[in-house]
Symmetry: C2
Subunit: 213 residues, 2 copies
């Protein structure tokens, strides 16, 4: 990660900026989805999608016919942002309210993956990112499905993380106010799986799905 | 909402597209944060921030000095996207895996709010969006804080929602496979509030914070 890149440097609250690969990778791996920013006809669009990381690259996939994929391949630069919200930070003044969060912003040029093995590896990583080990238990892509699916690779050379943790930081005078202050943690949780109405009764909930709960 | 706008029309999986204000407003109100897409020096950036809706307008706020705010005011167009993930959709083939989600994409030109009453109303809406009724229990912005904070308004004239619900849609032949299929619901949950270490012991957890849990 190139912390010297001016355009990726965290400028608001620079103390919250982090540039090491471990920190960035961990956030990318924990977040289920990313938001992809690209230009089409001269204006920005932001579209959510699932991603996965392999080493120092991030992958997204989609229909070859989609605007997202077309722009991700054609544009000189795409911005991919991942955000995890860890809690609400309640201060004594409205001004110092905040959130605890971990976010990553990546600037990169997309590359269409043409090699079939590389493509299947990326699709497996995306599947395993959603549900670890799912890939091994389902029907793999056939030739037509592979043909219809595009996989786009982005390097992580220009990426930065921004992280806020801890209690509120109030103005000195405000600490005397009788206002409750602190952090309300937030978490994304899975609920009880709901079987497809068309599922045969003989098919039990497998371990790799139970492991999510 | 103008469903006839070509650039906001949902093109991938058009059956998932919805354009009525009630649907769009409900998603905007439920989502804690949005992702703002804008151009700076010719390339896209995507930055997460908190938002609030009042009627047919969406508001964001930030430091007057931030790139996000400067671009949101200066650019001809900003894209604001909100995404709620409701569940993992596990199909019998990798290809038909999906998520249940509700997302909104807004294209709009930002307007800096100069009027103080309007500005305070928007800041109150943002505060109440994070924690309902919090505004009434904390110190309000003083003149310096108000001066340092910019509020930007976006109309919702060009907005669309995209929604997926329900079980997986597998290929006919795949229903015979002995693969578990269904939906694993996801929810954002609040955990036990953690008081600021500097909080006086006499200040109890108030009802408006308990109401989050």
């Amino acid at each position: 990660m190139d912390a010297s890149s001016e355009r990726i440097r965290v400028r608001r609250a620079p103390k919250r900026g982090q540039y090491d690969a471990d920190t960035i990778n961990q956030i990318l791996d924990e977040a289920l989805i990313c938001h992809v920013g690209f230009n089409d006809h001269g204006g920005p669009f932001v579209i959510p999608t699932i991603h996965a990381r392999i080493g120092a690259n991030l992958y997204i996939h989609g229909s070859k016919a989609s605007r997202l994929i077309r722009c991700a391949i054609e544009n000189e630069r795409t911005c991919i942002t991942v955000t995890l919200i860890d809690g609400l930070v309640l201060a004594r003044s409205t001004f110092h309210h905040s959130m605890n969060y971990r976010s990553v912003v990546i600037l990169s040029r997309g590359t269409l993956i043409e090699d079939e093995t590389e493509k299947l590896n990326a699709l497996k990583a995306i599947s395993d990112h959603m549900v670890p080990n799912r890939w091994d238990h389902v029907r793999k892509p056939n030739a037509n499905e592979l043909k219809a699916t595009a996989v786009v690779q982005f390097d992580l050379n220009e990426a930065s993380a921004k992280i806020r943790t801890g209690p509120p930081a109030d103005d000195f005078d405000d600490y005397a106010l009788p206002v409750w202050a602190g952090v309300v943690p937030m978490q994304q949780r899975f609920g009880q799986p709901s079987p497809d109405p068309k599922l045969a009764e003989s098919v039990a909930l497998p371990e790799h799905v139970k492991a999510l709960l």
